[in-house]
């Protein structure tokens, strides 16, 4: 029901799949946003970031029978999905459906909760993410994360960007790296005059984009975003969405969102989670449907998905 990896992916930059009567704005109806805020005289060499998206079909994560427990409580039950390279995958669903719990499994942030336990398999490029020898630090250097509330360090803008490379033992020119990263995150023009100023002085939207920039400074392959816009106003949200589309050329992005329109606007594929109550009266999060975004929003195969996206539930 949920697995749809054998289906070919929509071709990049073209119109959305021709589903008529879409309930929400299809994702790529807007002109493809290629670096909307990139300055014309970008002094930085752009070697690090490629422009084209490669052909898809390369799985980054393969999730098989994953359940997450907090103590004895099974918060998420039996999730199966495959996440592909350089795509934006959205995870949507009502509160308490386990989508945030699920996204935290991808870079082992759940390790930080002493009672949390993950069963089943998550493979990252065929490597068991929860294998015996796997080092969560290495995992998190490859799989970055952006959080719900902007959480810049109480340091300068510069130090926020430089932090990840520094702790990772970066031995290059930090100034260049900071500029390149901020440029890439479309934040350079806004902050270049105040790199030494406290990041806490930025606006909420700028703080969140700084957090995204901070994440890409360590050159991960995957960026996880846990409701990155839920604390922001619509204008700041739009900027983040533009940035996400731009970054998807380079990174695999998984985004949890409450906002269905957002999922529809930015994502290529959407996973719909909900929670059901078992015989014992205990609530478990479940993956209901996982498909191309256009299909989820126009022609979902599961009644619960349709109820949710048409606003009858949640």
């Amino acid at each position: 029901m949920t697995d749809a990896t054998d289906r070919p992916d929509p071709v990049e930059g073209t119109d959305p799949a021709p589903h008529e009567a879409a309930t929400a704005t299809p994702a790529r109806a807007r002109p493809a946003a290629t670096a909307p805020d990139r300055p014309a005289d970008s002094r930085t060499p752009r070697v690090a970031f490629r422009d084209a998206r490669p052909p898809s079909g390369v799985p980054v994560f393969e999730v098989g029978g994953v359940s997450v427990f907090y103590g004895d409580h099974e918060a998420v039950r039996d999730v199966n999905m495959t996440i592909e390279n350089r795509q934006i995958t959205a995870m949507i669903g009502p509160s308490g459906c386990g989508k945030s719990t699920m996204i935290r499994c991808f870079n082992r942030m759940n390790d930080l909760i002493p009672t949390a336990r993950v069963t089943g398999k998550i493979r990252y490029h065929n490597e068991d993410l929860y294998g015996r020898d796997v080092d969560p630090i290495e995992v998190r250097r490859r799989i970055g994360m952006v959080f719900q509330k902007p959480n810049p360090f109480p340091k300068s803008v510069y130090d926020n960007i430089a932090y990840g490379p520094r702790v990772g033992g970066f031995k290059g020119n930090l100034d260049d790296l900071v500029e390149e990263t901020l440029t890439h995150a479309a934040l350079w023009d806004e902050v270049k005059a105040g790199l030494k100023r406290s990041a806490l002085a930025l606006s909420g939207g700028q703080q969140q984009r700084l957090c995204i920039a901070r994440t890409i400074a360590v050159k991960p392959e995957v960026i996880l975003m846990d409701e990155p816009c839920s604390a922001l106003d619509p204008i700041a949200t739009a900027k983040i969405e533009d940035l996400m589309e731009h970054l998807a050329q380079e990174f695999t992005i998984i985004v949890v969102t409450h906002n269905m329109q957002q999922a529809a606007r930015v994502s290529h594929r959407t996973a719909f989670f909900t929670s059901d109550i078992d015989e014992a009266g205990v609530r478990h999060g479940r993956l209901v449907e996982y498909d191309e975004t256009a299909r989820i929003f126009s022609n979902p195969s599961d009644q619960r998905t349709e109820d949710y996206i048409s606003g009858r539930f949640g």
Partner: protein
């Protein structure tokens, strides 16, 4: 649906002809509030009269002699508390040296590493809470039985500072833990999500943000140690000391002990002398507290 709807509702909810003024505050309410206010006032009045009394009593002797002269049993009119002031500085400096690193490291362990569900961590936790309330004279017994006599360190600056550092260790730990806990979890998550290790996260994010709070708490803990007399009495600190400490193995006296010593004398000159020494002690404590409050206000983080 704006505020207009709400206004209409509120207006509609008020029954016509119904008075909202009430009958004023009943006398029981007033009496209750007066009682509460008086409970605070007693403390304030007591504090004020204590300070005034001490200063008035100390007035005849409140000059530099209290700092420049040594105790003198024969001629109190020319005595001072220099050996006690220097002794206090020596003892507190070493107390800080022993208890601050230990306390802060313990706090880091308990907040950042220890799993609170493990029995041994719970033991450590309850143990610290209990130690914080163990009478100071019991620490004196520990100092006397184990440090001074058992380990043979004698009645020295070393024994005194070790004893006092164990005494204030729980206070330092509790204050440092609060400072660490005040650093939001989101900062730790952000750092770890960037691939920082646990210790990198602590050293580069948590500790810098917690330093002002730790400093404040540490200063307050040390100011408690400065005022302590009971445990040092047991160490034989009441010996008549007319010289400044010269090292860790030196005999010593401290201000509270010297004050106690002078209070026990019956001649009026000693009472003035004791009061003057109290003023010196209170000024030192006031300075430390002001520093702590300044640190707290000046470096407090907004998140």
């Amino acid at each position: 649906m704006g505020s207009g709807l709400l206004d209409e509702d509120t207006a509609a909810a008020l029954p016509e002809g119904r008075r909202l003024e009430g009958r004023g505050v009943p006398w029981r309410e007033r009496l209750f509030q007066l009682g509460l206010w008086a409970s605070l006032a007693v403390g304030v009045v007591f504090l004020a009269s204590l300070l005034v009394y001490v200063v008035v009593e100390a007035w005849p002797r409140l000059d530099l002699r209290i700092l420049t002269h040594f105790p003198d049993i024969i001629d109190p009119s020319n005595a001072g508390a220099q050996s006690a002031v220097m002794g206090t500085i020596w003892v507190i400096a070493f107390t800080a040296l022993y208890c601050l690193p230990t306390g802060i490291l313990t706090a880091i362990y308990l907040e950042e590493y220890a799993d609170p569900h493990r029995w041994y961590n719970r033991v450590v936790e309850i143990n610290i809470q209990n130690l914080a309330a163990v009478p100071s004279i019991v620490y004196g017994i520990l100092g006397l039985g184990i440090i001074a006599r058992g380990m043979g360190f004698g009645q020295t600056v070393l024994t005194a500072s070790l004893t006092l550092s164990l005494l204030v260790l729980p206070t330092v730990i509790i204050a440092a833990r609060e400072a660490i806990r005040a650093v939001p979890q989101s900062i730790r998550e952000a750092s770890l999500a960037l691939g920082a290790t646990r210790w990198q996260t602590i050293r580069r994010q948590v500790l810098p943000a917690a330093v002002p709070g730790m400093a404040t708490g540490s200063i307050l803990a040390l100011s408690r140690a400065i005022g302590e007399a009971a445990p040092l009495l047991l160490l034989g600190g009441l010996a008549f000391i007319t010289f400044n400490p010269s090292g860790l193995d030196s005999p010593f006296t401290v201000l509270p002990i010297q004050i106690f010593n002078w209070i026990s004398q019956s001649r009026a000159e000693f009472i003035s002398l004791a009061s003057a020494a109290i003023v010196v002690l209170l000024v030192i404590l006031l300075a430390m507290n002001s520093l702590a409050i300044w640190l707290r206000n000046h470096y407090s983080h907004r998140w």
